[in-house]
């Protein structure tokens, strides 16, 4: 059962201030009720899909310089005139 408290908890987890919590309560509940059909599945195996990857199949962990084509990455970011990125206060 999704209620006001639960939706507020979820919006806190996903860090989104909900403009219309009532609408989401109704919709999320309706969809989760549908997801409950998973309870009816008769599993004949406890396995889940996985794929094994050999360690030597991974690429080498080595430094590759970024090709910025003469346009530094920082130019594409939101920054102040001193080339700093401003973040909100961590208190």
């Amino acid at each position: 059962m999704i209620d006001r408290k639960e939706i507020e908890h979820l919006s806190d987890l996903i860090k989104v201030e909900l403009k219309d919590p009532e609408k989401y309560i109704k919709q999320v509940e309706q969809i989760l009720n549908y997801f409950d059909r998973l309870d009816a599945v008769d599993f004949d195996s406890e396995e889940t899909l996985r794929k094994e990857v050999k360690i030597d199949g991974l690429r080498d962990d080595k430094y590759v310089p970024f090709q910025d084509n003469g346009k530094p990455l920082i130019d594409k970011l939101k920054k102040d005139p001193n080339n700093y990125i401003r973040a909100p206060k961590m208190v």
Binding site: E46, Q67, K71, K76, R86, P88
Partner: protein, 483 residues
């Protein structure tokens, strides 16, 4: 000049000197400007760069210098795939001013063959949706009837190819996002096997499921693009080396002697009447070409919608946690804000579908519910894969309609997310099991709306899949798009 030619025709005509790339591109942009007010397929146009490239390629051809295999072919790219120097917005306010600093691997490959990117096309925000109505920039319209949805989430890709604004488009397919717009816009769309095409530079939504796939007007064009974009990429560890090159060869091998499984759960109840009759017609056509059609039952797909949306939402909520509007995003000063208050405030600018999926994802992953939802969904996924494996021991290809319904009006289902999720029932199986699937335009309904037929093959059997799709394409002749 006929802008509706196929990729193979375009290449042949440019090679033969019958058309110049510059003229073709100029007319393409003229058409884009003329019909965009009705269709709204594009988010960003790349006209200046594209025209310079077109001139350069013409010069190279004249000087008999080496030119890439695509000879300046105009393509559009879904706006969740990075192209250096162009905006990649994901149709979200959260990435409104994000300019990509690098090319996705698929773009590097297409550029190296001299294709020309005409622009970035519309999608449902972060590729979440099946109608392209959930775009921050407004919906794309179906070229067959502009009151109707073009399908989604790669609706801009489907509509731009269908309405001759480009020859080929790249989309991405997480739950049918290439095949749904292909079906609704009467073009061809392929979701390749998971791991065949690099996802480097595709903005992540559901990593264990999504693939980049081409949309074109002809099956042979899809094969051409796949030959270029497939293969191992050290920047995407899920890719595998591609030994089956030459998808474009032997496309006309036919289906004689092939066994085709008709998926029981996707061709029976719940189908629109006209979709059902088109499916039966497609089966008859393939039989008349020598294919043997048998019914195949995949019980587990009856739980595919809830399994798919559980997994996709879980991965979405994790992937979208990174958007904080600090390094890029829209203008909204964080002066005076406490960290979390600012993040929650700016993230309220995600649209309704993205917000819903993040809420669902957070719920199914949260303590106490993980076993009830996420783990069970993963088990259903395993069951589907195992039933698919069994099916391909008996048949070469599987068949069902791509979409169980005809395209519907814009706004009709936008407030009923569950109804929209249920319309993905025929496409999500390929995503959950990783196998390739293609939508081929097959019929136009009495009301003038397209119907696509979907073929599915076993993992990495794209060659067989494309041969089947080509046979289906050649068995029918469709009217031209009315726009």
């Amino acid at each position: 000049m006929n802008l509706g030619i196929s990729a193979t025709e375009f290449i042949a005509q440019v090679k033969a000197g019958m058309i110049s790339v510059e003229e073709f591109l100029a007319q393409t942009f003229e058409r884009i400007k003329k019909i965009e007010p009705q269709i709204h397929a594009f988010i960003t146009l790349n006209e200046n760069v594209a025209m310079v490239q077109a001139k350069d390629i013409d010069k190279k051809i004249k000087a008999k210098e080496k030119v890439g295999a695509f000879f300046g072919m105009p393509i559009s790219v879904k706006d969740n795939i990075c192209v250096e120097g162009l905006r990649t917005t994901c149709a979200s306010k959260m990435l409104d001013n994000f300019v990509s600093p690098y090319d996705a691997t698929v773009i590097t490959k297409l550029k190296s063959e001299d294709s020309i990117i005409v622009g970035k096309v519309n999608l449902d925000e972060f590729a979440m949706g099946s109608t392209t109505e959930f775009s921050y920039f407004g919906p794309t319209r179906n070229p067959w009837n502009t009151e109707y949805v073009p399908g989604g989430s790669s609706g801009g890709s489907g509509a731009s190819v269908s309405s001759m604004e480009c020859i080929i488009s790249l989309g991405s397919d997480t739950g049918g996002s290439v095949r749904s717009p292909a079906s609704f816009c009467s073009v061809v769309g392929l979701k390749p096997t998971y791991g065949l095409v690099s996802r480097y530079g595709l903005i992540s939504y559901s990593n264990s499921i999504e693939q980049i796939g081409p949309i074109a007007r002809r099956v042979e064009d899809i094969a051409l693009v796949l030959d270029i974009i497939s293969g191992e990429d050290p920047r995407d560890n899920t890719t595998v080396s591609n030994k089956t090159v030459g998808y474009a060869k032997d496309l006309n091998a036919g289906v004689s002697g092939k066994k085709i499984g008709i998926i029981k759960q996707m061709t029976g109840e719940g189908l629109d009447k006209e979709v059902s009759s088109a499916t039966n017609k497609a089966i008859s056509k393939l039989q008349s070409l020598g294919a043997q059609c048998i019914e195949i039952s995949l019980d587990a797909v009856e739980h595919s919608v809830e399994a798919y949306y559980t997994i996709a939402s879980a991965e979405a909520s994790s992937n979208l946690a990174r958007y904080d509007n600090i390094r890029y995003g829209f203008d909204y000063s964080n002066e005076g804000f406490e960290f979390k208050a600012y993040i929650s405030k700016v993230r309220s600018n995600f649209g309704p579908e993205v917000t819903r999926r993040m809420l669902l994802g957070a719920f199914v992953l949260s303590a106490g519910y993980y076993g009830k939802y996420y783990l069970k969904a993963q088990k259903v996924r395993t069951m589907i894969k195992s039933q698919i494996d069994d099916a391909f021991k008996k048949v070469d290809l599987l068949l069902c309609p791509t979409m169980p319904i005809l395209p519907f009006k814009i706004g009709e289902k936008v407030d009923d997310p569950l109804k929209l999720y249920l319309s993905d029932i025929n496409t999500i199986t390929a995503n959950l099991s990783g196998i390739p699937a293609i939508s081929v335009p097959f019929e136009i309904s009495n009301s003038g709306l397209p119907i696509g037929i979907q073929l599915l093959a076993n993992s990495f059997e794209e060659k067989k899949l494309l041969q089947g799709a080509y046979a289906l394409q050649e068995s029918t002749k469709l009217q031209e798009v009315p726009i």
